[in-house]
């Protein structure tokens, strides 16, 4: 039991802390949430001040008067708390005059009932003085409206705590500190109010809630100073995330764990040709075509075609699973990326390539066949035939490039690296028996698990071309090519060294630039094929001079999960 002097001292301390915190919050009034926080703290101070005056009054009329006046502060607190929580967490679109007015209806009725209390029993059924522990205190029995405003206060308190609870889970220490400070500041007086309503306080007629507002004041002050409450505000976070969702070029649909549509952006509504109002709350299968064929997570294997005829568009559909803190599934986000233009360009390229290659091959065969019939010196005939063979080789390279593009689109496929390398080396050994080709497959600690080393399927053409280049262009007297594969962490490094003439600087420069000009270009498609293929396999390509002459081409690519 608190002696009267101590209780007054504690209450006055509440006033000091509350007033200080209110003035500090008022200083930050440009920051989101600062004005409602000031109002809330002012409400707390008001309640505490008149609680002291009620406590010090000696007559029943005096105590009743101060008790009634306290309601002004009491009813302001929950409204200001909710507005603060909404504004502070970036949901300020709810903080509009009409909503504030709506929220203030119940508090206004309460104040009106307080002013007219002697004429009805809605707020209090009974009012009188009782002596408890040697102290005369006001005893009032709550009427029906008392419980309405109590329930309303708790409801708004709960609603305000929800967005702030989200911040407690924030990764950012300042936001966690701020919201913990705010929650402690809010829970302390409410917990004491629950105890008061349950009759579990030492003096049953003495509501200790304002006393615990001292705790609130300290918590809020701590949040303001220690965690820079209002100086560092997360309000932009919520808005920014929403903006990213709304403004992203991809369509995005959010589905819950029961496969119902819960959110979608404007792009998704346009792509799926639905209105968000109609789609939200409906089963995803009714809104998204071929929904049942989408994977649990990741990119769909087939493009989704939407629309009819010339208006049809193709989309890459990707599912991103959403899980809660404990890893339980909450649903997912399905994003639609428009690949129509890309596919159209690829189709055109394929047609052009096929027509060109077909025609080149046909015409080359014609030249080759007719060369023997030419009435010319044998040397010239051979030159014509070699020229025709070179044209055909370029055509084959072009086919390999298309092959790489095709393989690159096949996700989930893999090739065994050792088999690919052995195949390439056997092929060149057979075709160029004069070149000594060494092959070494180093199994170090990084790949000691004994499993097969698998790589992207595009590596097949890449490695074939790297080894062929090293062999074909090697004009050394004693041509040598060394192939060495090594595991490095989660990647594999294939190093092909030769003692040939090396790769010219302008070809390397074109590769580094990523494009060719009429004056600076490569001698063919071979190097481009190697560069593009490595890039598609998420790898790195380096070309270095070999000590003692020649070139070292290193292809470093990530290992992939072997195909079953």
């Amino acid at each position: 039991m608190l002696p009267p002097g101590t209780l007054t001292a504690v209450m006055l301390l509440t006033v000091v802390v509350g007033t200080t915190a209110a003035l500090l919050a008022w200083r930050e009034r440009q920051e989101p949430g600062a004005v409602p926080l000031t109002v809330m703290l002012a409400g707390q101070v008001w309640w505490s001040v008149f609680f002291v005056l009620e406590h010090r009054a000696v007559t029943l009329a005096g105590k009743v008067f101060y008790s009634d006046i306290q309601w002004l502060g009491v009813v302001v607190i929950p409204v200001a708390w909710l507005l603060f929580a909404l504004e502070y967490t970036g949901r300020d679109h709810y903080v509009r005059p009409r909503y504030v007015a709506l929220l203030s209806v119940v508090p206004a009725i309460t104040v009106a009932l307080t002013a007219t209390d002697p004429y009805h029993d809605l707020l209090y059924l009974d009012t009188g003085l009782v002596t408890e522990a040697g102290r005369t205190v006001l005893h009032r029995t709550g009427g029906p409206w008392y419980w309405v405003i109590t329930a309303y206060t708790y409801l708004l308190g709960l609603l305000g705590s929800i967005p702030l609870l989200g911040l407690v889970r924030s990764d950012s220490l300042p936001f966690r500190g701020q919201s913990l400070g705010l929650l402690v500041g809010t829970l302390a007086p409410w917990a004491s109010n629950v105890l008061f309503l349950a009759g579990a306080v030492p003096v049953p007629s003495l509501d200790p809630t304002p006393v615990f507002f001292a705790v609130s004041g300290v918590a809020y002050l701590g949040a303001i100073t220690r965690f820079r409450l209002l100086g560092t505000s997360p309000s932009a976070n919520h808005r920014a995330r929403r903006l990213v969702f709304e403004r992203m070029r991809e369509g995005a649909v959010v589905v819950d764990r029961h496969d119902y549509v819960v959110d979608m952006n404007e792009q998704a509504a346009e792509i799926l040709d639905v209105s968000p109002g109609d789609a939200l709350g409906n089963p995803a299968a009714e809104v998204i075509p071929r929904y049942e064929h989408l994977p649990e997570e990741g990119r769909a294997s087939r493009h989704l075609t939407l629309g009819e005829g010339l208006q049809s568009r193709q989309y890459d559909a990707t599912v991103t699973a959403v899980a809660d803190f404990h890893g339980r599934s909450l649903g997912g986000v399905i994003s639609f990326h428009d690949v129509s233009d890309h596919l159209q360009r690829q189709q055109r390229l394929e047609v052009l390539n096929r027509v060109l290659r077909h025609n080149i091959r046909t015409e080359t065969n014609l030249i080759y066949g007719n060369a023997d019939l030419m009435d010319a010196e044998n040397g010239h005939v051979e030159a014509v035939k070699e020229g025709a063979m070179r044209i055909e080789a370029i055509s084959d390279k072009a086919r390999d490039v298309i092959d790489i593009f095709e393989r690159g689109r096949q996700s989930g496929r893999s090739l065994a690296l050792r088999a690919v390398l052995q195949e390439c080396i056997e092929a060149v050994r057979e075709e160029h028996p004069s070149v000594a080709v060494d092959f070494e497959f180093v199994r170090n600690d990084d790949c000691a698990d004994g499993a097969e080393i698998a790589v992207s399927p595009v590596l097949s053409s890449v490695l074939k071309n790297v080894v062929e280049n090293a062999v074909e262009h090697n004009d050394a007297a004693d041509p040598l090519v060394g192939v060495r594969a090594t595991c490095v962490d989660e990647a594999v490094e294939i190093r092909v060294a030769d003692n040939g003439p090396g790769i010219s600087d302008h070809e390397r420069a074109a590769l580094e630039r990523g494009n060719e000009t009429p004056l600076e270009h490569g001698s063919g498609l071979g190097l481009w094929l190697i560069a593009w293929g490595t890039e598609m396999a998420d790898g790195d390509l380096t070309i270095d001079d070999r000590e003692g002459g020649g070139t070292v081409v290193t292809v470093r690519v990530p290992r992939v999960v072997p195909e079953e």
Binding site: L12, V15, T19, T20, L23, W26, V45, V49, L53
Partner: protein
């Protein structure tokens, strides 16, 4: 000669130590003085003296009113200086620099001081609380930038001729008179009205004197004061008039028996001092004059306490 060299070094050492101590004391003293003047803490001390004078004039028993008024004065003036730090850079660059450097600390101190004042005033009952809250309302209304946005035609009180000084004087006179009365539950008598009128007139003079030094700054931000509107000589004459009016009030109160003669004499000493200060208006350094004007209550307090000490 080792002895000599030791002696010499001792002398130099002692002189050096003394020099350092003097230097440190000077530095700390200067800093403390600056903090006292620039932070408006000295105004709080003067305000406490004013309440004490009011209590003596009204024969009231000791109560916490001077403490509350001191805290409120410190809070309101410190906040005002923090709010006006940019405009003060023209009229008082040193003070502006001090306030700018300690802006956050000063604001927190002002907030805590006001919180303490409100809490203590609760012990004085609802009137004391209302009187204490009044400067808080002015705190917001006087300098807050949202007032014009709420009422577009509402000019800041600070910018209207005479109203600015009268509002400040009214707030002071109300606080100084009503607070000790409220704390002691004393009855409102003719003496209370006289004391209120006395502080109203004195506070008006105290508000207008510093305005002479702020003419350029006030004109720049559109604040209309007596020296801005009518010039310094006219202001001097007007303040002479107010001083003489106060003298007349005190004399009338004494002759009517509302105020004891020795109290009237003490107030008269203070008014004589004020006439001298007013006479120097525009003729000496304005900052020193403003400080001298605010010290009038210390003269009155000395005149009140001095004879008691002599007896």
């Amino acid at each position: 000669m080792p002895r000599e060299s030791n002696y010499a070094s001792d002398v130099h050492g002692a002189t050096g130590r003394t020099g350092r101590i003097v230097e440190l004391l000077t530095a700390y003293g200067e800093r403390a003085g600056n903090a006292l003047v620039y932070s408006s803490a000295y105004l709080a001390a003067i305000a406490m003296a004013e309440v004490a004078i009011a209590m003596v004039l009204l024969s009231l028993p000791p109560n916490p009113a001077p403490v509350v008024v001191g805290l409120v004065t410190f809070a309101v003036y410190t906040n005002d200086r923090v709010a006006d730090v940019d405009t003060d850079a023209v009229s008082d660059p040193d003070r502006s620099a001090f306030v700018r450097r300690h802006r956050d600390t000063l604001y927190v101190l002002a907030s805590v001081a006001y919180g303490l004042a409100v809490a203590i005033s609760v012990l004085g009952g609802p009137v004391a609380l209302a009187v204490t809250l009044l400067p808080g309302v002015f705190w917001v209304a006087y300098a807050a930038d949202w007032v014009p946005s709420v009422a577009p035609h509402f000019r800041r009180l600070k910018q209207v001729l005479l109203v600015n000084s009268l509002v400040v004087a009214l707030a002071w006179a109300t606080t100084l008179t009503a607070l000790p009365v409220a704390f002691t539950d004393a009855a409102v008598t003719p003496a209370t009205a006289v004391v209120f009128a006395y502080f109203l007139l004195r506070s008006f003079v105290d508000t207008e004197i510093p305005n002479v030094g702020d003419v350029e700054a006030d004109r720049a931000i559109g604040v209309a004061t007596l020296p801005v509107a009518f010039g310094v000589p006219a202001t001097r004459r007007a303040l002479y008039g107010v001083d003489l009016l106060t003298l007349g009030l005190v004399a009338a109160a004494a002759s009517a028996g509302v105020l004891q003669t020795w109290l009237a004499v003490a107030l008269g000493v203070g008014l004589a001092y004020s006439l001298v200060v007013t006479g120097l208006l525009g003729r000496v350094d304005n900052d020193a004059l403003a400080l001298a004007s605010e010290c009038e209550y210390l003269v009155v307090a000395t005149a009140l306490v001095g004879p008691l000490l002599l007896l």
